[in-house]
Symmetry: C2
Subunit: 226 residues, 2 copies
């Protein structure tokens, strides 16, 4: 197995991705756009939660969304109801978004008409780890039905995220989810990580998360101003 050569080629690609992500980040800051991304397993409830968050954050500022999937445009169609400025990125067999895909998707958008850009990555707890998309803030999601052990099993993705969200809290009881253990596991992998508990169904935590995202916008703006 010719692994070393693959590793070398991958490192090269990652380096190019990082350079592009850095230039995207500068563009976002210059245009005053806060960029927030979401990674998780397939089916952990990213899109349903995003619908709620987009609606809430969208009451105050101009929002837009990019959604990654291997196939279908279903998620973009759903998000478009609350955020007309939404675009689907279909990746084919690629298990993550990269900075180049984000750049291409933005081509015909006027960034200075957007305040917060939400990026929903492909459902995958491994591949997205290594790809910087130029975002300011990356959330990793873990649903209450997936089990408490995911942070221990996928430590890298928790390490590359800035905050965690436990979704589907309405199903925690039925799934016998041990919330305390989940928090302990997250903290053991990433001590001090901020964790939100959310249910898109009951609305639990949506306000708190939306306010947090808004507050980051101010942080990011003052950082740029300095």
């Amino acid at each position: 197995m010719n692994r070393p050569r693959l590793v070398e080629v991958r490192e090269n690609i990652l380096k190019q991705n990082d350079l592009l992500a850095r230039s995207l980040r500068t563009r976002f800051h210059e245009a005053g756009v806060l960029v927030v991304s979401f990674v998780s397993s397939p089916g952990s409830g990213k899109t349903t939660m995003l619908e709620k968050i987009l609606a809430r954050v969208g009451e105050k500022v101009r929002v837009a969304a990019l959604v990654g999937d291997l196939a279908t445009e279903n998620d973009a169609a759903r998000l478009m109801r609350t955020a007309p400025q939404t675009k689907q990125i279909t990746t084919g067999t690629v298990c993550h978004l990269d900075a180049h895909m984000v750049e291409s998707a933005l081509e015909d958008w006027e960034l200075n008409k957007v305040d917060v850009l939400f990026i929903e990555n492909v459902g995958n707890l491994v591949c997205p780890s290594s790809y910087d998309l130029g975002e300011d803030l990356r959330f990793v999601l873990l649903s209450a039905t997936e089990g408490e052990d995911k942070p221990l099993k996928y430590p890298t993705i928790f390490n590359t995220a800035d905050a965690a969200i436990i979704t589907k809290m309405d199903l925690a009881g039925a799934a016998e989810f041990d919330l305390e253990l989940a928090h302990r596991n997250i903290q053991s992998v990433r001590p001090g990580m901020r964790v939100f508990e959310v249910s898109a169904k009951t609305g639990k935590g949506i306000d708190e998360l939306s306010s947090f995202i808004q507050s980051q916008r101010l942080v990011s703006q003052s950082a740029t101003a300095v």
Copy 2:
């Protein structure tokens, strides 16, 4: 982005994996071992279901298990209670098992003392698609809490599997899972695919699935005999 070179290197690796998987398959058949693998999202309930299946199939024949994860040996520790011949393969940052990892894990095992070998892949609906592990039968799992759209969003993994299992059926009601739509989506991606409905918690479907796996053992043996 130097994609063509990456594609070429990946194709090379896949070709080498296929050759090794083919020789593994021959070894398994010669030793009379049926090999069954399971792929799914993280947290779809593979290990809990496998515990039940191993116990049931293990009443009649000699079972063994290989379990893939990026990190931790938790799953092997769980399965070892029902199948003492269990080994964890920790893949680090690699998002799937490959034939080489399977071959290495088997090094100190006597294959002719095993009747059915179960392989639990890393939780991932993308990467495992392309890697033949020398198995006779590949199951793709979809939990009732993940949503009905997963077959449409991850068509390749459904296409490389021989049968599907809908897990966590006990949570279908609470999650408002549309079972009929899930079946329709599976059939639209892979017409004629056999689908099992299972709950490791209530025991639903465990007997049927265990009997099916046993029956495949006879099919595989008669194929080798011919």
